[in-house]
Amino acid sequence: MTHPHDIAGGPARRFAFPRRVPVAALVVLGLCAVAAGAVVFQFHDPNAVGSLFPPCMFKAATGLDCIGCGVTRALHALAHGDLMRALEMNPLAVLVLPLMPFMLLDTFGWRPAALQPVMRILMRAKPWMVLLPAYWIARNLPWWPFSWLAAG
């Protein structure tokens, strides 16, 4: 009697991201998350004093911006149609987050030929490994133009 995990011939995988999830289900789930976020941001303002949104622990501990600092406020600004304020909060996240659904779908096997030239570049990990830490450092430099990358 073969164990279900042995079918592929490998050892049992403890953490397995689902690989065969229907793309449509993922899209519906993603749209639900976006809609839920938009509703939450109508009623709760992360800019308000005493906001219930969790703060960044790295910023609380060091006073420095992390890569994700300003994302909550940027999403709040986007939910209110204010792209410029969103870019002020976290320009990289605002540029990168719209790519994420496509990159996520790529990892789940949705690879339309028309997107392949772009995806081949985006799905290379080394540029990200350089870009994200570089952004982390750059947005904490106090001089223009780097100061523009800081949250807020």
Binding site: R19, R20, P54, I67, G68, L104, T107, R124, A125, W128
Partner: protein
């Protein structure tokens, strides 16, 4: 073992999860995950399948740790908020 559904058997680098956890909860674990994700393709191209698989597993593990610690931090934060609200109410 873990072969993506399309294309030639590319070992998954789990890079998108690494980027997402770095951007959305920004714990250093996300960066660790990206470093391992970046190793996967190079090792596979060099023919080191076992090494690539190991890097892939580590990238996945660190992405899970990053996401998990983000969730735990969120739960702790809201527990704290709840406690301080209860404290305020009982103080009134």
């Amino acid at each position: 073992m873990s072969v993506p559904p399309t294309g030639n058997s590319r070992i998954p680098s789990h890079m998108v999860w690494a980027i997402l956890t770095t951007l959305l909860c920004c714990l250093p674990f996300g960066i660790v995950s990206i470093v391992f994700a970046a190793k996967v393709d190079g090792l596979q191209a060099a023919g080191d399948i076992a090494g690539a698989q190991e890097a892939s597993n580590k990238a996945k593990m660190w992405a899970m740790i990053a996401a998990g610690s983000g969730v735990v931090a969120g739960i702790l934060w809201f527990a704290l908020v709840g406690l301080s609200m209860m404290g305020q109410m009982s103080g009134m």
